[in-house]
Subunit: 110 residues, 2 copies
DNA sequence: ATATTTACTACGACAATCGTAGTACGACAG
DNA sequence: CTGTCGTACTACGATTGTCGTAGTAAATAT
């Protein structure tokens, strides 16, 4: 049961994370679990990769962070919310993916 | 007319190059042109990327280099030939690609 | 004669990922 | 009440493929 390394997915962690923020804010640990679930354990993102992606994407204006005020539902966390600019970026990246996929597949033997 | 950067394809230049060596040896300039043609100008590999990929792949044992002896058909060139190990690697990478593609597409909205 | 194409090499910068390590809070078992 | 496990991070330096810029030189076209 082979697993994918983040290095192979390099450059696409952004859209993976942004996808999971499209509908509601979320935070590191939860996103990590969702990636694992959605990929059926094929892709398990490294903590360092994930958190440094958050920092980078916040600096780029794709996401915004806030801290949960009422700690009713657990402990203190840093949540991230996608920005309008982040949505644009996400869509642009999806198009780039489609193009990239088409190109690479010309060099794959089946 | 958007173009793909090598950084996006990162990690897959190897299979692109190896694909073009599957049937016969070739060299930098020719491979560069073939990538461009096959991708219909969507992907134009940088010279530095290409030549450093050659060095890396030779060090990894995926390809072997030799110089053309008779210069009838042009000038002196360094040709590269895929090794059996390189073929194995190519096939493994193709499988990895299939897996990677499946994973990423779960995070793409169409 | 000169410009363009061909065929490279050198070298340092960059940026995303990775490895390792460590902190600290909360829940739950024994 | 104590220790372990799961949660939720942060720090920091190493690694590696790609990129930018530059330069060389032979062959071909104008």
């Amino acid at each position: 049961m082979p697993e994918i390394s983040s290095d192979v997915i390099r450059g696409y962690n952004d859209i993976i994370i942004l996808y999971l923020l499209l509908n509601e804010p979320s935070y590191g640990y939860e996103i990590s679990k969702q990636i694992r679930q959605l990929s059926q354990d094929k892709y398990i993102i490294k903590e360092t990769t994930l958190y440094s992606a958050f920092t980078r994407m916040e600096n780029n204006g794709f996401i915004e962070s806030f801290v949960n005020e009422d700690l009713a539902g657990g402990k203190k966390r840093t949540y991230y919310r996608i920005t309008p600019f982040g949505r644009e970026y996400y869509l642009a990246k999806c198009e780039e993916w489609t193009l990239t996929k088409e190109v690479i597949e010309k060099f794959i033997v089946y």
